[in-house]
Amino acid sequence: MSRLRRIAQASSRDLMILAAVVTVLGLIPLGVSRFTLSVATTALIFALAGIGWNVLSGFAGQFSFGHAAYFGLGAYTVAVTLTEFSISPWVGLIVGGVIAAAFGLLTGWISFRFGLKGAYFALATFALAEMLRLTFNNLDYVGAGIGITIPLAGGDDWGRIQFEDTPSLQYWVLLGIVAVSLVAVIAITKSRLGSTMLAVREDEDAASSLGINPLRAKMAAISISGFITALAGGYYTQFLLFIDPDLAFGPFVSVAILLRPIIGGVGTIWGPVLGAAILSVLGEVTRSLVREPPSFLQVIEGVNGLDQVLFGLILVLVIIRAPDGVLGWFRRRRQRSAV
């Protein structure tokens, strides 16, 4: 126990930042429309998924291009445990996390034992997520291509995590889960485990020469990562009250998950949250720009796909101009001015 206390001591600065971030994010529902709240909720769900991705790909350096696998397993576990076994989504979230972690351990063990790295590991994760999608698409037990609809509980129901009357509650509960996950990530970065992951990311040979078992570090990373991302997936089901194979396992889910930490800053604590904030603001701005353009841009009104073009352009510019994401860009500037 004293070790945990020492970790907390070492993390005090980050925990204070966390308190501030959570406070600011917690205020959002107070002054926005129901629509904006749902945008914020979605942003937070993908931030959470990105926090999970970041553990494996940012800290441990194993780039996953198929985190939809974990997201989808979480999403479907919540849906199936509720509709088939009447189990509360609270339990479903945890079970989903455990299943995703187990899936990560199994597939990770095989991939890492066989020495998959870099682009090959990325493609393997992609293939796994696609295989899950195709399998679920043909599995009648989980509704095949049609998916699963969650029955409405009606009103505010804590046990079912449905808050029809007070949607802000749904956001705040999610924020709580995000906060807990961030505390876990902060603790990891301050602990031996985090240091081990970073070492393996940087140089496996050097890491093993210092007594680190690279396989074990990667296995720890993939299970924690899968668990957190599955929580996000499970909550996504609760938020949509519906899930289908594309929403759960689609390739664009994987992209959506990794985009946020990369824009915010790969391998940083705050990158996923920052990236999610930036992307959702950006997404809303471009969408509303296309919906109601200023008079001199009248031609673009309602043109389908234009917001995505803008989005792609910004993505390309960010990758070229700020390859370490926004936080990395700031850090680099600070270092430059310090020298």
């Binding site: 020492r6 240091s195 070492a199 940087e202 040979d205 680190i212």
Partner: protein, 244 residues
């Protein structure tokens, strides 16, 4: 003098090339054993065999009474036998301090304890001023120190140093020699590969000469310097006596 590390009849082949050929060595407790030999003699390969990076085709390696030649590197390091790399491998995305923390964590799960330990290792190697710099921007001399600090932070009982002096200026080299000496004074046994003759002669208790993978001679520095076989081997190989 009881030996803490023994290499017995170790052989390693790469295709037709025998990089290490039936080499046997004993490293005494608290000893500095220098290993010299021309480029390509098989010195680094010998380190790879001892540290678990490669498995010998024949022979055995015994560390503190235990056979280790089939163990993975991390278990060997965990038992207290740690090596540095000739081509240094800093964790370039991390700061100098974080680099050393990786080593410090091996025996100290408590982050505050390992922080304190890492800081004292940085102090010992004179790296405190660059503690918060990214490892990627360091000079070669500092990177070699970092490699050493990181390995030392794991509290090794045996340390294998692969050419820590190569490429350093005479002043930097002299500082490094002092550091290595005080590591030994701290109770660590050392196996030191070195190209720079003068330095290794002054530093080592004994010296082993490797040539074409074979152990050519082993003994006190003074004997080695006079050994006709050694002199002959080096004259043929344009061995550098002075630092480069």
């Amino acid at each position: 003098m009881s030996s803490i590390l023994s290499v017995r009849n170790a052989t390693k082949r790469f295709g037709g090339l025998t990089a290490v050929d039936n080499v046997s060595l004993e490293l005494g407790q608290g000893e500095i054993l220098g290993i010299i030999g021309p480029n390509g003699a098989g010195k680094t390969t010998l380190f790879n065999l001892i540290s678990g990076a490669m498995r010998p085709d024949e022979g055995e390696v015994v560390f503190d009474g235990e056979r280790i030649e089939r163990m993975p590197p991390h278990l060997i390091a965990g038992r207290g036998l740690v090596r540095t790399f000739q081509v240094v491998k800093p964790f370039s995305g991390l700061t100098v301090f974080e680099n050393v923390m990786v080593g410090a964590f091996l025996r100290r799960p408590d982050p505050l304890e390992s922080e304190a330990h890492a800081l004292s290792m940085l102090e010992f190697t004179g790296l405190i001023p660059s503690a918060d710099r990214p490892a990627k921007g360091l000079t070669l001399a500092s990177r070699k120190r970092l490699e050493l600090a990181r390995a030392l932070a794991t509290d090794p009982r045996v340390l294998l140093l692969d050419e820590v002096l190569a490429g350093l200026t005479p002043t930097e080299g002299a500082e490094m020699v002092e550091v290595v000496k005080s590591i030994r004074d701290g109770g660590v046994s050392l196996l030191v590969i070195e190209h720079v003759m003068a330095a290794i002669m002054a530093l080592s208790d004994r010296i082993a000469v490797i040539h074409h993978g074979e152990l050519l001679a082993i003994g006190k520095p003074a004997q080695i310097a006079k050994d006709p076989r050694v002199v002959e081997a080096y004259l043929g190989e344009e061995f550098q006596i002075a630092p480069d």
